[in-house]
Symmetry: C2
Subunit: 430 residues, 2 copies
Amino acid sequence: MRTLLKNAILLVEKDRWETVPRGFLGINDQRIDYLDAIPPAQSYDHEIDLENHLILPGFFNLHAHTGMTSLRGIGSGLPLHRWLKEAMFPREAKFSPSDIQRSSQIAILEMIASGIVSFSDMYIQPWLTAALVETSGMKANLSVPFASKDFSRPEIDQERIDTAVKVFQEYHQSAEERIRIDFAIHAEYTSLKASAQAYSEACQSCGARMHLHLAETEADVKGCIERHGVTPAAFFAGIGTFENPTNAAHCVVLSDADIEILREKGVAAIHNPSSNMKLGSGFMPIRKLMDAGIPVVLGTDSTASNNNLNFLEEIHLASLIHCGAAHDPTILSAEEVLTMATSAGAAAQGRNDTGRLKVGNKADLAIFDLDRPHLMPVHDAPALIVYAAQASDVVCTIVDGKMIYDHGKYLTVDAEKAKADYRQSCARIH
Amino acid sequence: MRTLLKNAILLVEKDRWETVPRGFLGINDQRIDYLDAIPPAQSYDHEIDLENHLILPGFFNLHAHTGMTSLRGIGSGLPLHRWLKEAMFPREAKFSPSDIQRSSQIAILEMIASGIVSFSDMYIQPWLTAALVETSGMKANLSVPFASKDFSRPEIDQERIDTAVKVFQEYHQSAEERIRIDFAIHAEYTSLKASAQAYSEACQSCGARMHLHLAETEADVKGCIERHGVTPAAFFAGIGTFENPTNAAHCVVLSDADIEILREKGVAAIHNPSSNMKLGSGFMPIRKLMDAGIPVVLGTDSTASNNNLNFLEEIHLASLIHCGAAHDPTILSAEEVLTMATSAGAAAQGRNDTGRLKVGNKADLAIFDLDRPHLMPVHDAPALIVYAAQASDVVCTIVDGKMIYDHGKYLTVDAEKAKADYRQSCARIH
């Protein structure tokens, strides 16, 4: 099946982002097979006229905890550590596998609707979410996150490590390679050092990627220094964690020496602007990180600290808050934010055949309807998407060439059943 | 015609915000005539079942420049004063009355779609916009904004003052009192002192309200001190401007003495978070202002510095950015932000019969559809609206009891014609 998307504005990232005002994008099965400002010579089975629409690479959400979606709106106004201990952990203790799965299913619906094609998830029992990723048609990097269960019993941590390896072996590259398995360490403050080191070594033995929380708050950094005499970045570097290709969520409180560690080790920094503000953590030193050549990518974090999974909001926040904090409207361009949301995210998931509109790449696309009052005129298309567009302007989401969301309709998931099941689950937990 | 909205979640502001989980709101002609958790005894002509919906007072956008909507996306990345001089003023010089009107019409469509029921506009030739407000069914506080045309010719400023008075006399309380006329001084840095004083006196003689830009950037304040030896707040206090009930947009760079002036004079501060970040101006000291008892309200500013008129975005930004800047998740509650967006805004427009769900008030309402993945569960309804909702969740906007927007359809404006006309206008200007 070959489909031609025609007459759309295309945002194409080469060395720079280029805008094709009226372009043609051909899809052959899973991949882009044509991309130009002139129509193809050959015919396609199916043509879709996208006059007044814009095609972007779909978005990569590098930091999610989909299993806890039902905690949306719980504990508003608490700082990170009280919020975790008083609002989150007691409720999570009540979760059954079905609660986790129902939360993940709603998260998937929400993400698809804002043009997210792939997410990196850090939540227990990832096989529950893997089944949903498979049927939904999305992509995901899942993980068995590590946290020490009982600091006085290091020996029981091995079980989680074994599970992580087993899940890697069973699920990595499954669902036609849409599912990848990462390793994930929740954070320094929830890990025994030796266990985190053993988990990092297991990651390396699998050749997997690492996902972790790093330097989210002043308290994290202070506590780590008290416990280990070094910052979280130095802690993880010291136990070999960063020998794995690593994505570090938050990166709010970093010294220049920390930034140098991240640069040297090739760690990608995941920016979660909503969550960092919502919990009062602060602003990532994004310009310093980017100037150091550290890849910066974007994440929603969970609905519990966001309180949604709307990627256009994260894009918008990332584009604005640093201008405000630095009193400098030039600190970050719209194009840089688009790169964070697309190609940089794909690369940080270890996916080298997506994230850009390019012949040969997987057709992972977000299509925006621009025939709306708030999206006129199209004077500067990247600025329009970053500063003016909303999640609801995404009318189609396409993954591996397959349309999974079309004008509010979910084509791979029974959304009404998912919502009904989820409502039941929420009622039980709260 | 009496209409009953039934089975909706109602957010009712009394001393505190209260959530009625399943409520009934009756509308008789323009006004709310019933509000309770139990159904009314009397029957209504028409009943609308709003199961899984939420009713809020509609939003009050206290700072807009609707006539320049066509400049959306122009001059991204420039700081305020270069942006004004290099990107805005040269294009505005090309505007015909029809360009202004087409821009205002698109702005009205955009505002209605995010639940805005009333806006305060600062743009020349307000009679152009008045005609559109009248037909659209919205409410607006319009103004003939003052700026000195030529600093070497103070005598020509009188003409603008005369026009402002004439417009006040002709349009104030027109369109069934939906239109109110304010006076507006663009800013200290665009005004001769004597002219601004004369304009302020004219405002007072009309008994009107004043709308102005105040202390938007460090450069504004520094320049004012160089020119007049005092801060902008002291400047306007000194020439009597604040003897009028005044709404001051931005209020980013304020000393404690400035805050004391605003408090003493009863000035309301208009928070424009998108614009202040987009132009690198900084963050309003919102907690200090609120703790001083100064009413804080919300505005979008124009699409040229925002780049949209999405009130849910402003609500979301206002709720988050101060938590990030102050490293304090408790600095501003969801309820405080809702008050800024509704009742405080209505009061700052001089409207005392709207802004809250209350029997006897005008039925100015925004109705949200909550049957969406990102709005479940409804654990904390104010937090849900502030942190998770999007403009597209507003499915109906009602002004003076009349539905003007219903599930994407504009009931008072020919949106297709408005968009086509506006596209032509944009093509001519750029």
